[in-house]
Structures are given as C-alpha cells and as structure tokens.
Amino acid sequence: MVSNIDETRASAIVVVPREFASVPGRWAGWARQLPVLPLAILGPFILIALFADLIAPYDPTEPIPGAKIFEPPFWMEGGSTHAFLGTDFQSRDLLSRLIFGARVSLIVGVAGTLVAGSIGTALGIVAGYLGGWVDQVIMRVTDAWLALPALVFAIFLATMLGPSMWNIVIILGAVYWTRYARVIRGEVLSLREREFVKLAEIAGASRARVILRHILPNVLNSTMVLASLTIGVVIIAEASLSFLGVGVPPPEPAWGSMLADGRSMLMVGDWWLTIFPGLGILLVVLATQLLGDWLRVRLDPQLRNM
C-alpha cells in the first residue's frame, strides 16, 4: 500500500500530449510567468559554482598564511576582513570553502539526478513497452531496491565503494532510479495502447524506433517533473553522506563535511561553522523545490487547479 501512496502522487503526473504542449502563443505566457523567486535564489548559487575560482578569495583546501584557527566572521570580536566569514579548524577560509561547496552540491545534485533519471526512465520504458518476463525482472528489482531506506542503501554502497565525488554521483543514481522506473513504466503501459504507437508498429517501425521516436518524447515531461522532485533529495543525501564521512572526501569542501567539521565547535557556541553551510543547503534545496512546483504546473495542466 505504500506503493499506492507513491502512485497517487505519481499518477498526478499525466502525459501531456504534444499538441497541447505547443499551442502557439504559450511562449508569451512562459515569459510572463517566469519563476522569479526560485531563479533569484538559484541563479546566484549557479553563478558562484561556475566561477568559484574567480570569486573565492583563497584556496579552499589550504590554510590562510598567518591566520588563526576558528577565527570568527569579520563583524565579531576577534574577526578580521581578510577572512570575511572566519576560518575553520585548519585556518582555511570559510567563505572560500562555502563557495566551492556550492559547486560540489550542485554538481552532485545535477549529475546524480541525471544518472538516476536516465537509468530509471530507460528501464521504465523497456519494462513497460516489452512487458513479459523483462517487465517482471525489472519491476521485482525495483521493488527490492525500494524496500531499503534510501539513505541506508546509499551509506552501504558508499562504504563498500569508497568515497569520491563521482562515486557519490553513481551511488545516488543507483539509489534513486527506482521511483522513475515505476512511474515511467506505468505511463508507457497506457502509451503503448495509444493509436500513434499502434500505427507506428503497423507501419513497420522497429522497436528501437518506436521507443526513441514515439514513447520517449512523451514520457520526458514526467521525467523532468520527477527530476525536479529528486534534485533536492539528492543534494541533501550528498550532504548527509559527506557529514557521516562516507561522501565527498576531505580536503574537498562539501557543505555536509563542513557541518561535520563545525560540530566540535558547536558546544562553545561557534555558530557560524554550522549555520552558513546549512543555510547553503537549505536555500538551494528550497529553490529547486519551488522550481519543481512551477515546472509541474507548467508541464501538467491537470495539476494547475490544485
């Protein structure tokens, strides 16, 4: 029955026939209703991540020469303007680490979502379109992998594979593809009964052609909506793994491992080491959620009234 709860959310994601999606004049509406708030939050983070090398005042992995450890931000007593937000336990610049941390979070978030979405969509289409034992095998694996709590599964894989940023991307892709597979399969089951698919088959199109030209374009909307839901989850999962020490390895600056580093100084009240990386995660995830809501309404007219 858990599955059914999942599916009630999933079933709300309905295929939008292409003819509706491309009504002339809709682009004007798109431009008018740009998601201002999410872009206003996410935009700066993307820019910071892209140009981290130019913006960051220091090397995030090296101590600032002559600086003390655990310097507070510049407006507090004992702080100075050469390290705006203070320094960490190795007298590295917190601001520079936050800036490069944005890059880690966004790369892992986007790449992990891409991996999960590609695997899940591909398997969902294959299972739904081919049916039979292929479908059975894929769906039983999906069920089994869904049975493990995502984070526990990710921790397990990370422990066994060893930490590196690209391993984390693969691991999170391997953990989160299952929800795509379920939803996409369900859609393909109804798509393959539709006339345009039947006609393509009668016209002698190969399976690969039917999948690539007729099925795939019609499930991409749902993949995108699911991706917008997953990206925040993936970012938090990366932060969690890094916090536990099985994620992005030091000295690479990831927001999760920065939180773990700051934990020792929490008891003496050095709040900046905990607050700033957490705010980074919060804002990025919040913006992706808002963007996801906007996307859902855009891509799915059925949900617009909800």
């Binding site: 029955m1 858990v2 599955s3 709860i5 009630t8 039983r140 694996v141 069920d143 089994a144 992998w145 049975a147 493990l148 709590p149 984070l151 526990v152 599964f153 921790i155 397990f156 894989l157 422990t159 066994m160 594979l161 060893g162 925040g232 938090i236 932060a239 969690s240 916090f243 536990l244 020490g245 099985v246 939180l259 934990r263 929490l266 008891m267 003496v268 009240g269 709040w271 905990t274 607050i275 957490g278 995660i281 919060l282 995830v285 919040l286 959620q289 808002l290």
Partner: protein
Amino acid sequence: MGKFMIRRTLYALVTLFILSLTIFTVVRLTGDPVTLLAEPGARAEDLDRVRTDWGLDRPWPVQYLAFAKNVFTGELGKSFNYQMPVSTLYFQRLPNSLELALAATLISFFIGIPAGIISAVRVNSGWDSFGKVVALLGLSIPGFWLGLVMILTFSVWLHWLPTSGQGDWRHLIMPAVALGWYFAASLLRLTRSSMLEVLRSEYVKLARLKGLPSYVVLAMHAFKNALIPVLTLAGVNLVVMVNAAVIIEVIFAWPGIGRLLYEGIFQRDFPLVQGVVMEAGIMIVVINLIVDILYAYIDPRIRLTK
C-alpha cells in the same frame, strides 16, 4: 483472500531474495572484503587467515548459500568487532530506536495532522498558504542540520536541554523533532489531500444536508475516513525511521540501530554493515506485506485487481 495472501507473500519472498543477492554482490563487487576487514598494511598470511576464518576463500555460490542460510535462521552473520550475531546486536538496539521513532511520529502528528486539516478545510486561504510553507520547509531543511541548530539554541545558548545521550523526555525531544521534521511535512500533504478528497464525497455532503453542525461533520464523518491513508503512512514510516535514523542518532549520541550501522562503517565491520542493512530490508518488506494484507482485508476490491 487466501490466494491473495499467498501471492503477496511470494512477492515479498522474491523481493527479499533479490535484496539479499544485491547486498551479497555489492560487498564482493568492490574487490576483496578482507581488505575492508583487515587493518591497512596487514601481512599477506594474516589476510589469508581472515579469508579462511570468514569462509571467503570458498566459491561465490557456496558463500551465497551460507549468507542466505544466515538470513533464514535469523542470525545474519557474526559481527567482526563484537564477535556476536548481528541479529543479537540489532535487537539489543531496537527498543532505543523504537522509542525515538515513536516520539518522532508523535511530534509529526502534532504538526502535520492539524495543519493538514486546516489547510483542507480552509483551502486556498491564508491557512492553506501557511501549510504550504511548512510543507516546503519540511522538505528543504535537512533534519540533521535542524538538530545541530537546536543543539546550538536550546543546549548551548539557553541551557534548557541536554545536548545528547539517552535519559528522560528532555533527552528525547530534540532528536525526535529533528527526525520527525521531514515526516511532518509529508504527513501534512497527505492529510490535506486525503481530507480534500473526503470532503468532496457524497456522504459528507449528505451529513451537511442533514443539518449536522460542521464540527460533527468534520470530526465524525470526514476526519475518521481521511485518517486511513494517514495512519498507513505513519506505520510504514515508523519502521523506516527505526532503521534509517543514522545521522540523527549520531548527532545526539542515541544508542540505536542507526548508530550501530555507523559504528560498523568506522570499525570496518562489513558483516555488521551487511547484516544491519539486510535486517532493515526485511523489516520494511514485512511491514509492507502486513499493510497490503490489511488493506485487502478492509477493501475487497484490492484482492481482485492484479
């Protein structure tokens, strides 16, 4: 009903088989689990001895059968570090994790259900918007960061609550809020949509037409029925929280299952990690099976479809 139960039980067994195969393969996929077990730089003959001790020199199918037998007898293998069956360790920690998960569920009920009801009854009002903001923050604020911020606020600055450990209710409150936080948001969304659906139903309309006061309609007719999916989600989530509260238990030094897993990672105790992950999978497959059967018992339509 009998047929349905047998089919569902078989599905659950297949799921568990795939799960055990996945876990078994992952552990061996990454090379030699002995290198995970032994200290770095151990001598070759020591490695060989560990290999023989743990039966890792046998062919894979034989090893899998031994692993499956361990799962089947409920022992789940022996922890390298504790020299005890993993299941013994797991069930020692279970009451602690259950205590925390129950408290977290309670807290999420206090936040999620009233807010969900108000959002549904006063749909599209200020209350509804407030509910949306709460739900959005629930998904965007990582629970473990919330935990750190609470420690900072209530333990370090205000000295109201102890920072960590297990004891009376004051030890319980912060980890329970941090753990229940995410769930409160999903509970809110589900309560809202479930209430909205019930409020549109014919029997609620009839109850209103009979002239019953609106609080009677809401409490007796609507809420009682809207509660079914909510309680299901709560039950399944309880089991997930028992097994997946890794970070929260680490932050608050809570001696539960999550911390057992964490210890396993850092003591390179791969039989422990493997066993705890498998046990978590078993618990979740079993609770899903129970929920499925209960639902089929309540609603005969479910028995007949698929």
